[in-house]
């Protein structure tokens, strides 16, 4: 048998153009809202638009009677009226109690403003919108609980039947002896922090097209982050076997965690199934903003104790997250925040209590960083305050306490091998030439514009945590006679814009020794691939590269054995993780981590309270940069998104009603709001867990922008800011104190 000629083709590590770029710059790429089918009907959702109310009745008779209306669906039409990523605790559409086709735990209560009441399907979008206005819903409004503080009051009304005391979930970590630890501290830093909600603001609002495909499957083309999870959620609600539901992702217009939970998927599938006709929906921007979850607002109280030489001896943190009324991914986000909230340091004595509290705000869920940015804002601001209190260099203080290979984490287990944060910090410092001490106030007093520099670093898990099943499938087909002439890679992984599909092909090309042009990718379709897991947790490049290398190698083996075409399927399963012990928090929670360090140079206008970042240095250990240009794109984009959260994006809700429903009131960074310079430092220490050393990276650039900016504000003005976003009003008020 002739062995295949494995050419040394260097594809991993080169900035090949994205495989989808041509279609995107010419306008040919199809996003869900661009899809059309013959005979397609159009749908609109009736949202509750009130935060807490009992649905007494829904009268859709006038809407149904309107010419051109095909159907009005309510929760009563769903065989199983519930959804949820970690728990099925949310109704797809709120229906009056006891009207559901089958028993569910739901009680006809609207628990947030974005709750769905009905889906109207008509010949045109306009008719559907008009018919929506003809539906009469009788509500009985209930008291609104709009803050975590009100939610935990002893006499507070219980919002959700599953969550007594409005407590959704809690974690507890105990390591060492916290009292003895603080007793041995020369300095204790103690403060209270708050970080606000954040809207994903992907440019493509939710949209989709559902139809019954040639094999009789209810098919939904939509933008999401995990086709097989969408398939499972749809099948569950429709009471169908999974193989009767198919999910396909066309081009996805951004996600950032905001497409992990269900938006239009289930209602569209319901309509196509019941009507046996293609049905399309496009949400407006306002519908998108009230219709999907937000980054968790978090409140924290923290104490950090150290000896005079800077050695950390004790850390105590209480963390409370506003979950909104349903779980979404809250339990996981809170777990991450719990693990990350004392930062990437060795702390011998630790006490952490974290809670997720139920409110009538828009549900909280996944958003780039998944709890780590909130936690690290607390941890790193505490560290910077400690450095200031001790009068020591903030970087030197880190270097003394950073986790290293073999260090024991807050979970009382060793950090996974490949802990490179010391190197990342040093490379960031070298790039920024950071001389961090804090004497910058003198000489600037009285000047309107003052400058400052701040530093922060952090870590975050790559891949699912706490024992969640973690795997990723790939199939590789090799075609040809004597030599491999072309290959096909089947992979379900979602390219939300981060460039995953290009990376898949680069990894396949490198492994197969084929030019990338000879490889076809069949992606993001439940009908053609096994599950990839989600595009989240900085995991997809890490997991998919393992799966593709595995499948490609197995296919090459079959090729050598003479199989034509040679087809191999491979499921990558990383080392298992474990959940946190409920009393001590002991766990081996994560497969591996990503590490980041950032330095921010800012200028503050003391008169207006605005700050501007002149230069932001971001060093990120990516293990191996599969496509350096795309890595830089993730860093620059992640930094800017984090700056939005830090200073600009004020997601305003009052008494459970969203006030910022447009880009005119919810400000995301424009080109004027970005740093003058973002220096991306690509650190490439191979991850021992990674295929080819590849580590995940997409969330890391987001992680510590906020604490670096807060440190820079302190450097410039001597004022500490404990609350995000640092709007001009807030900063000006703080400076005037």
């Amino acid at each position: 048998m002739t062995p295949p000629i494995i050419q040394a083709i260097m594809t991993v590590g080169t900035s090949l153009p994205r495989i989808d770029a041509l279609s995107k710059v010419t306008g040919e790429a199809h996003y869900p809202g661009d899809l059309v089918m013959p005979g397609m009907a159009h749908a609109k959702v009736l949202f509750a638009r009130r935060p807490h109310a009992r649905v007494i009745s829904i009268d859709a008779s006038a809407a149904r009677a309107m010419p051109g209306v095909l159907a009005v669906f309510t929760g009563a039409d769903l065989p199983v009226n519930e959804y949820g990523l970690v728990l099925f605790d949310a109704p797809v559409m709120v229906a009056p109690a006891a009207s559901a086709a089958t028993e569910t735990s739901f009680d006809g209560v609207v628990r947030h403003e974005g709750e769905k009441i009905a889906l109207i399907v008509a010949e045109t979008e306009k008719i559907a919108a008009r018919a929506r206005d003809l539906i009469t819903v009788i509500y009985e409004d209930m008291p609104v609980i709009a803050s975590i503080h009100d939610a935990v009051k002893p006499d507070a009304m219980q919002i959700h039947p599953h969550y007594a005391g409005n407590l959704m979930h809690e974690y507890r970590i105990r390591r060492g002896d916290i009292d003895a630890g603080f007793a041995g501290a020369d300095v204790i830093i103690e403060d209270t922090y708050f970080t606000g909600a954040q809207e994903h603001a992907y440019l493509q609002p939710e949209a989709g097209l559902a139809y019954v495909d040639e094999a009789g499957r209810i098919t939904v083309q939509v933008a999401g982050q995990w086709v097989h999870e969408d398939q499972e959620q749809i099948a569950h609600a429709l009471g169908l076997p999974k193989d009767q539901v198919r999910v396909i992702y066309p081009s996805i217009g951004g996600a950032f965690g905001g497409r992990e939970d269900m938006s239009v998927q289930i209602v569209l599938a319901l309509a196509a199934w019941k009507l046996n006709r293609p049905v399309k929906i496009i949400w407006t921007r306002e519908e998108s903003i009230i219709g999907h979850h937000k980054r968790h607002p978090m409140w924290a109280h923290a104490r950090l104790g150290a000896r005079r030489d800077g050695t950390l001896v004790a850390a105590e943190v209480t963390l409370i997250a506003d979950a909104g009324p349903y779980a979404y991914t809250t339990t996981k986000v809170l777990g991450n925040a719990t693990v990350m909230c004392v930062g990437p340091y060795v702390v011998p004595n630790v006490a952490i209590n974290s809670r997720a509290v139920v409110t009538n705000n828009i549900p909280s869920g996944a958003f780039r960083g998944f709890g780590a940015p909130q936690a690290l804002f607390v941890a790193e601001t505490q560290m910077n305050k400690l450095a200031a209190a001790l009068g020591v260099d903030a970087v030197a203080l880190r270097l003394k306490n950073l986790l290293r290979d073999g260090s024991i984490t807050v979970n009382n287990t060793p950090i996974p091998p490949g802990c490179t944060i010391t190197d990342v910090v040093q490379k960031c410092v070298a790039a920024a030439a950071v001389a961090v001490s804090a004497p910058a106030i003198s000489g600037q007093a009285g000047s309107r514009f003052v400058t400052g520099r701040g530093f922060a670093c952090g870590h975050k898990n790559i891949g699912f945590s706490f024992g969640a099943p973690e795997n990723c499938a790939a199939t590789v087909e090799l075609h040809g006679k004597t030599t491999v002439e072309r290959a096909v890679v089947y992979h379900a992984g979602a390219d939300c814009g981060q460039g995953a599909h290009t990376v898949f092909l680069q990894v396949a090309a490198e492994t197969l020794g084929l030019p990338i042009e000879k490889i076809t990718l069949v992606a993001s379709d439940t009908a053609t691939s096994g599950s990839s897991g989600s595009a989240s947790a900085s995991r997809l490049t890490f997991m998919a590269s393992h799966s593709i290398v595995g499948a490609a190698r197995a296919a090459l083996d079959k090729w050598r054995e003479g199989e034509r075409p040679a087809v191999a399927h491979f499921v990558y399963r990383p080392r298992a993780t474990t959940p946190m012990d409920p009393i001590t928090g002991e766990a081996d929670p994560n497969i591996t981590y990503g590490y980041v360090a950032q330095s921010a140079d800012i200028v503050i206008d003391r008169e207006t309270g605005q700050f501007h970042v002149r230069r932001l240095v971001c060093a990120d250990d990516v293990g191996r940069a599969v496509n350096p240009q795309q890595v830089v794109g993730q860093i620059e984009g992640g930094v800017v998104q984090a700056l939005g959260w830090t200073g600009l994006e004020n997601f305003a809700q009052r008494n459970g009603k969203v006030l910022s429903q447009h880009f005119s009131t919810y400000l995301i960074p424009s080109v004027f709001d970005v740093p003058d310079v973002v220096d991306s430092v690509l650190v490439e220490n191979p991850d021992p867990h990674g295929a080819m050393g590849i580590r995940g990276m997409a969330e890391m650039p987001f992680l510590v922008v906020a604490p670096a900016v807060v440190a820079a504000i302190h450097d410039a003005t001597g004022v500490w800011i404990n609350e995000l976003p640092i709007t001009p009003e807030r900063l000006r008020a703080a400076l005037q104190k």
Binding site: V25, T26, G27, Q629, V640, H662, F663, S670, V678
Partner: protein, 162 residues
């Protein structure tokens, strides 16, 4: 009430019947099947629907379709010299990594093209001004500004040669 709208679209004469109240964005997407122009907000806040109207960039969601009668409209589909190819600016967006999710890309390519037609030697600040009405949530804008800047240089160099 339908109305006949005659205008030039991507260099070709178009005549179409459409309701008088539809926006140019809807006319392009729903009546002419040109879905390259995207809707991000429908109220002129995001720039995803940018097109050239008589060579100037406009938010097509804020233009009523009958307003383009007798005028010249250029969308992202019309920029390439031949079908299936790319304009120099589109190619620069690919080369410099200015495309991630791509939903804002058609609008940004249009805004960049409008800028470059007006200003052959833009500074980075002037490029910022030119794309200030276009939001991107993925890139952080640097690679987009790079692509426009490099295209300006290429065009200037090509002019010198001629």
């Amino acid at each position: 009430m339908n109305i006949q709208i005659d205008f030039t679209l991507n260099g070709r004469a178009v005549s179409i019947d459409a309701p008088a109240h539809v926006t140019l964005l809807r006319l392009l997407r729903d009546y002419l099947n040109l879905t390259g122009t995207k809707e991000g907000c429908a109220i002129g806040e995001c720039g995803a629907c940018s097109v050239l109207l008589d060579g100037r960039v406009v938010n097509s969601c804020l233009v009523l379709a009958p307003q383009v009668s007798g005028r010249d409209v250029m969308t992202v589909e019309g920029l390439a010299p031949v079908e299936g190819a790319m304009s120099d600016l589109q190619a620069a967006f690919v080369k410099y990594g200015a495309v991630q999710c791509g939903y804002c890309t058609p609008g940004l390519v249009i805004a960049g093209e409008a800028l470059l037609r007006d200003n052959h030697f833009p500074t980075r600040d002037e490029i910022n001004d030119g794309i200030a009405g276009n939001l991107c949530r993925c890139t952080g804008y640097q690679q987009i500004v790079d692509a426009i800047e490099q295209t300006a240089r290429q065009r200037a160099a090509a002019q010198v040669k001629e």
